[in-house]
Symmetry: C2
Subunit: 374 residues, 2 copies
């Protein structure tokens, strides 16, 4: 059986990571290839020992495509000194994040939240169908899978008004993120049709959320301390090109989006995701039904001339499906009856294709354990 | 007359900037001192040629205090090769920004906005008196004084629903910002009583705002594209110690803040600010009346364990006073009757003390000119 069918890390995947000595590695089956030691690539080896993927991103989309093509032809023929067992490698946050923005791109999630938080009102916010709503998160607390997550403390609603203490409603959000690979200077825009060219790769995101803190603070400036304590990402950045076979048509968009948000089809990206608490899967969902695509998120963010920097992280917002068992957060699944306890370990796993019979690619996983407030 | 009385850049000020060759300079009267060439300092000269103030920040509060004390004794005796006319120096953004957070700390501003945006409701949001509300802004579009500001385009309310075009309601916000100088790791908190120790210095901030874009997008995730296109800061970072003579008692806080927000007095910082459009002053206001202090903003942001990085920028939110003529935004001053036109130049100036008779210190100015949408 080839590496692909067993691990999801075959030649059609080839995700990038960075190990704890700052070297860029690529996953292949149960091994990693150390790119600074690899043969057959056309990149200055210093790019592979710089501690992050940003130096590689800076080479631009042609170099990403060329390196991927070369790896696909030479990866299985690397010498022993360029290979290590994947289980021996300790992966770190693989790139330097500029700004982090989080969207609200799943219609099923937005409607479910609207029904719970604003019963009686229309479930979708006024502007939701016209543009991908989003907000800026805290880039400095984006952490790699495996990092501890301290239960945040803060002010939350109490019986006699706001009350300080550890969050009693700690939650997760299953999201798909992407890393911008090219810098677009301030004053420039990126139409949705051209946006994929700027996307370096895709990661899994767990946007930890303290619902009680969030509920007190979010009017009128949006989520702040209820989200800013930690955002976990998977250690493997899967090149956008690896998703070509798993593109799908997105949902029909009515009303018709503004010109800058118009894309060709297929605009969707059909990854399967699962959410586990302490090893038990509680939900599975697919990103294929997301209303607003990655390209539309990037187009929206830049339409005002804000530009982006290589390394900027975009996340989709919680991905929930229409059916029971496809909720991307505990709040949606348990409707306020269950939250995270100290010691709980949350795992989000992602893949494209059918794991029982290939081809398929793995997005790896993002794991985090809740520890008590400090 | 000494430099202080004429320019506001005397020995009690000594703000830091970075010139366009990446060298750290300090303003003194009509000159700057090039610190890498200066005599009598106890800092590795490479710190002064690193392109930003971050290397100096990394030396820590004791080094900041020591360098300031040494400069106060040797600044006027520097050799000619370490001095240049201030007007010859082109200043750049003087530090690398991690995260940028913007608060809503002026009660007069929050109440004025509440009355305009939510007539009939209580003007202050539910949580406003309990904690300093804030949100994350876009760090990648913080620009130094003098940078052009392209009029943002985007979706805004139209007669038949959301409509795309250049913003027709472009505004400014007069704010005071501070730069965090020490890194506080994730999982740690900073109580308000200890927060001043972490503040490196103070800058003027113009938080450009497109009110039409903002009004469509801000529910429920807060300001996004209405703010993210540009935030301008003054080029001189005034050390927090320079404000010691201009500390004032803050407004009485009722209800009593949570423990983590409690500070000693005087917690206020009494800078005078003026807002000019095309050279004509339209408003003047003071930061002394801000309800939530800088230390309280830093304590709030870290109470959930988010931590901060050296270089993080905090801004106060619009500073407005209680009287006509003290509005910190056009929206408050002109109530929707006047907005910025292409070609308008906005200048925010700041100082402490009375400029007609010293002592006083200048915060310099932050200038920006609106140019048409691209």
């Amino acid at each position: 059986m080839n590496a692909d069918a067993i691990t999801g890390f075959g030649l059609d995947n080839l995700p990038y990571g960075v190990d704890d000595s700052g070297r860029v590695v690529v996953a292949l089956g149960d091994e990693v290839i150390d790119l600074a030691s690899a043969e057959g690539l056309d990149v200055d080896p210093e790019v592979w020992t710089s501690g992050s993927l940003n130096a590689f991103m800076a080479l631009g989309p042609d170099a990403w495509a060329d390196t991927r093509a070369r790896l696909q032809s030479v990866a299985t023929r690397q010498p022993a000194h360029a290979r290590r067992p994947r289980s021996d490698v300790r992966l770190v946050l693989p790139w330097e994040i500029g700004d982090y923005t989080d969207f609200y791109a799943s219609r099923e999630h937005a409607e479910a939240m609207g029904r719970m938080l604003r019963p009686g009102d229309a479930p979708l916010p006024e502007a939701w169908l016209h543009m991908p709503l989003g907000y800026h998160g805290r880039a400095g607390t984006v952490v790699v899978s495996g990092s501890r997550v301290w239960r945040p403390a803060g002010l939350a609603p109490g019986p006699d008004g706001p009350q300080f203490g550890p969050s009693a409603r700690l939650d997760v959000e299953v999201e798909l993120g992407f890393v911008v690979g090219t810098t677009v200077p301030r004053g420039h825009t990126v139409p949705a049709r051209a946006a994929d060219h700027h996307i370096f790769g895709v990661v899994l995101v767990n946007d930890w959320s303290a619902r009680d803190i969030q509920s007190l603070e979010y009017r009128p400036l949006g989520p702040f301390l209820g989200k800013s304590f930690a955002t976990s990402v998977s250690p493997w950045v899967v090149p956008l090109a690896a998703f070509d076979p798993w593109r799908v048509e997105g949902p029909v968009q009515t009303p018709e989006p503004a010109d800058y948000l118009k894309t060709g089809e297929p605009r969707g990206l059909n990854a399967e995701l699962s959410l586990s608490v302490n090893g038990a899967v509680i939900s599975t969902m697919s990103s294929g039904g997301l209303y607003w695509s990655m390209a539309q998120q990037l187009a929206h963010l830049t339409v005002n001339g804000a530009g982006v920097r290589a390394g900027d992280l975009f996340a989709s917002g919680t991905i929930s499906g229409p059916l029971a068992g496809s909720e991307g957060s505990l709040m949606e699944k348990y409707r306020g009856e269950a939250w995270l306890a100290d010691g709980d370990t949350i795992t989000i796993t992602g893949w494209c294709g059918e794991r029982s019979r290939g081809p398929w690619i793995s997005l790896g996983e993002v794991v985090g354990t809740v520890v008590p407030s400090i």
